[in-house]
Amino acid sequence: MEAAETEAIKDSAYQIKTSAFEGPFHLLLSLIEERKFFINDLSLAQVTEDYLSYLNKLEEYKTDEISNFIVIAATLILIKSKSLLPNLNLTSEEESDIHNLEDRLKLYELYIKLGVKIKEIFGEKIIFAPLERKHDTLVFLPDERITKENMMTFAREALGRIPKKVFLPEVEVKKVMSIEEMIEKLTERIESSLQMSFKDFSGVAKTREEKVVVIIGFLAMLELVRQGILHVAQENNFEDIIIKKQI
């Protein structure tokens, strides 16, 4: 494992010492546990910002694993937005995403606890299989498939199956825009036009990566709301969010 993964995030509100390999759930769980919360939408909303600040740090040196974190970030942002904008209407898919995240976290927590028990007993009381028995009679029992050609084929096939770069995730994920980049872009667009639709701004999302970009944009917008730059008005539940510059 690489040293960078274990690097602590120093300027975060909580000193998060975690590694990319341990993934988004480990990060979320430590954030929730440090505040002595239970797993629910409220606690998840509260730790969203710390989670995202970690995500930003992670992006600087570990682009490979970020996709795992971004996918979960998307759901967290949904939870956070709902808590910031109580009249925000979530679709049933979004509701179930939130519900699933809570369930997954609870299950992950269960396996972590079981892992602690495993660690306690692993290697403590070993059941040993007998040593290789010595055989008095010397035998030589080949097989007609042991031919020069076959052996070459077997060796080559075995060598060909070794994963080329085992540290990388198997699916290449498109590089996702950072939250900072998104905030900058959003601010520019806001300044050039006083009123714009969130849908115009983000385009129509199709793939998972694109959805993540939309959500990062959405978070960035909420971030700006918090900073008092923007005023968000969602006039009707099913309409686009209209972004206006605060006067």
Binding site: M1, S19, F21, E22, G23, P24, F25, H26, E65, N68, I72, N100, D103, R104, K106, L107, Y108, L110, Y111, I112, L114, G115, V116, K117, I118, K119, I121, F122, G123, E124, K125, I126, I127, F128, A129, P130, E132, R133, P163, V166, F167, P169, E170, V171, R208
Partner: protein, 185 residues
């Protein structure tokens, strides 16, 4: 000679896991008789220096876990007792679910587990086999080596096994639903 004695001798001689099926075929007796004799053997080994380990349909003999310290002194090859955090997470899922596909492991851990699975498989702690429910997939299971390192004769002896297993089943439904959704993406 009764069946129980024969089975004990065969397992002793082999010194490796054997399936119940192979035993009944080799001895020319029914599965039920083999199972009955194995129960008797287990009972007879209760106060002995050796134990019968079981894993699904396979069985093998090993030394008693309480004698671990003594036998370890006789063992020349080095034992790796270290487990990384990723390994612990993955092993706890595989042990308590006793047969699980990579997609579900990834889903529970929130990360790609292929590197960890390969490392555990090289260490001989887990093994993959074709999913009986879907021949295009693999499922990962604990090996005898893993049960041995845990000092248990079967997965049922794992701490809180019954308790955990029932609570997992109820939550697991969500995953299979979610996994199906992901496939349709």
């Amino acid at each position: 000679m009764n069946l129980e004695q024969k089975i004990e001798a065969i397992l002793f001689f082999k010194g490796e896991p054997m399936s119940r099926k192979r035993l009944s075929e080799f001895l020319g007796v029914g599965q039920i008789e083999v199972n009955e004799s194995l129960e008797k053997l287990k009972e007879n080994l209760k106060d002995r220096g050796i134990v019968l380990q079981e894993k699904e349909n396979e069985i093998t003999l090993g030394t008693r876990p309480e004698l671990s310290d003594i036998i370890e002194k006789l063992q020349k090859e080095e034992l790796n007792k270290e487990l990384s955090k990723a390994s612990l997470e993955t092993l706890s899922i595989i042990l308590y679910k006793n047969g699980v596909g990579r997609s579900l492991i990834d889903y529970i851990r929130g990360v790609n587990s292929s590197f960890t699975l390969r490392a555990l498989s090289i260490r001989g702690l887990i093994e993959k086999s074709i999913d009986p429910e879907d021949s295009r997939r693999y499922i990962y299971k604990p090996t005898f080596e893993l049960l041995s390192f845990m000092g248990v004769k079967s997965v049922e002896e794992l701490p809180d096994y019954q308790l955990v297993n029932s609570s997992i089943e109820s939550t697991a439904q969500n995953f299979s639903d979610e996994l199906k959704n992901e496939e349709n993406l």
